[in-house]
């Protein structure tokens, strides 16, 4: 469960475009900042131009681009992952779809959205992403509601992967077993809060 990766250095001079893109995507899947930055640099201005040309602002562009990055990240982490087009085409397709949706929600959808670039179908991925995004929000909500010390305790154990001994020391529990009991109580609370929302949203 705990993934710890060493980010790989990317040598831009020696590899072909295809290989370079694959390396970027691998880096992305591992949350490697230099890969994220490279994809940003390569693609952001195109997306901003697209959004600005279609009734949006720079803030909208930042928003949409970030969301598209998350979609790409989620995709890159799938075991069955393969990208059958350039990153650029994929990012553009996702942003375009997301922005169309946003415009529809705002009822601003009056003019035809221009599309000069190639696009690939991304509807399914976006649906999948929305589901995941919903789960993320529910977990965030549950974590926010759970209160201290549970929040820090679960955060320490499950998110930062600290050991029970470290947690016992951090929270002043006399031993790891006490910390474990406390963790269990917190987990039950979290479960309750999380599934309560789950049932509501079904």
């Amino acid at each position: 469960m705990g993934y710890y990766y060493t980010p790989k250095r990317i040598n831009k001079n020696k590899v072909s475009t295809q290989e370079q893109e694959n390396l970027l995507l691998k880096g992305l899947a591992q949350n490697d900042k230099s890969s994220i930055e490279a994809i940003y640099r390569e693609n952001y201005s195109m997306i901003q131009a697209f959004i600005l040309n279609n009734n949006g602002s720079v803030d909208d562009a930042r928003d949409i681009f970030q969301e598209a990055m998350i979609v790409l990240y989620e995709k890159s982490r799938l075991e069955s992952f393969s990208l059958n087009c350039q990153i650029k085409t994929y990012v553009y397709s996702v942003c375009r779809r997301l922005w169309l949706k946003r415009l529809q929600q705002l009822n601003k959808f009056s003019t035809q959205v221009e599309s000069l670039e190639d696009t690939v179908p991304v509807e399914e991925e976006i649906e999948e992403h929305e589901k995941k995004d919903n789960d993320f929000t529910m977990m965030e909500h549950a974590m926010a509601k759970i209160g201290e010390p549970c929040k820090s305790l679960l955060d320490g154990y499950y998110l930062q992967k600290k050991s029970m001994q470290e947690i016992a020391a951090d929270f002043g529990y006399t031993n790891a077993d006490n910390a474990k009991t406390q963790k269990y109580k917190c987990l039950v609370r979290l479960k309750k809060l999380f599934f309560a929302q789950y049932n509501k949203s079904e």
């Binding site: 469960m1 930055e37 901003q48 602002s57 720079v58 803030d59 930042r62 993320f136 977990m139 965030e140």
Partner: protein, 369 residues
Amino acid sequence: MIMNEMQVLDAFERYTSGEMSPQEQESFDELRKNNADIDQLAVEHGYLLQQLDAYKNIKNFKHSLHEVEAKLLEEGVIAKPQLAGKAKVVSLWKRHRRNIAVAASIAAIISLFSSGILFNYAKNQGDATYEKLSRELNAKISRMGGHSSNNNINPVVAKPAPNASVGATGFLIDGKGYLITNAHVIASLKSIYVENSKGDYFTAIAVYVDKNSDLAVLKITDSSFKYINNIPYSIKKGNADLSEQFFTLGFPRNEVVYGEGYVSAKSGNGGDSTAYQLTVSANPGNSGGPVVNKNGEVIGIITAKDSKADGVVYAAKSKNIFKLIQDLQAADTSVNQNIKLPVGSSLKGLDRVQQVKKMQDFVFMVVGN
């Protein structure tokens, strides 16, 4: 083997992390097969852990995204919002210049005819307003004195009384119509209006209130409000320095009032580390006003004043805003997720007069009853 719930969860975690010996694994499998309750528990727990793991990954990834974005904003790879805004203002002005000239000359002609009437009217109107204002002021002063708290300092602010209209200050933090003001300002208001420096009124609602930091987020709900993209100031994440100079804009009267001062202590009333002590002149109505440093960064929000000492004013630190927005987004799954705090100040390097000019359209009077 009889297991309580805690043991099941513990066993499950050891099972999935590969800490169990093959025999243990086998007996745990057996147990799940034979006991539907335990199996159900394990399935639920597995799902929750999976969700937690996904949550962790996305959270970390979002964190990286923000860092990369901040870096690229700094480098100018991502254009700052202000640039687009400026270009727009210029073109609008050019387009309307002729109309404005025509309108001005018509206005001049009309005013020639009507100045006599208006003069009389204004006189009456003036008297009436003056009385009304003084009443309001009296009411506020009496409330100032009437306060007592367990500290020997009375935080004095324009506490709204029922059925009396209150005035305070708020400022935009997102061009989609989100403002920051004080929690106490809107505490007793049934309806909230905000008015900009041009005199346009908009209805607003409180979308999040945090009494601890005494801050509230308002959202303008009026359909006549147009999104603004070019908020000129930014919100400072770090602390302000002792003696740092600042200015404020606020509405202690029906017109925006400018004030100047310096940070006199890095904690607020009673050592409150989420606030600053400022030396500045502030009056009821200044509550919720932005405290802006020379770089055009909002460093605080005026909240209260010491009634026994002159010029001692308290302001919530600007980093509370970040926390406030975070809490709001955690508690709210609706449209308010999209709040984006302004990044990068376009006021840096300008002289004070220009800074204030650019800023005053984004500071609102908050009124209500």
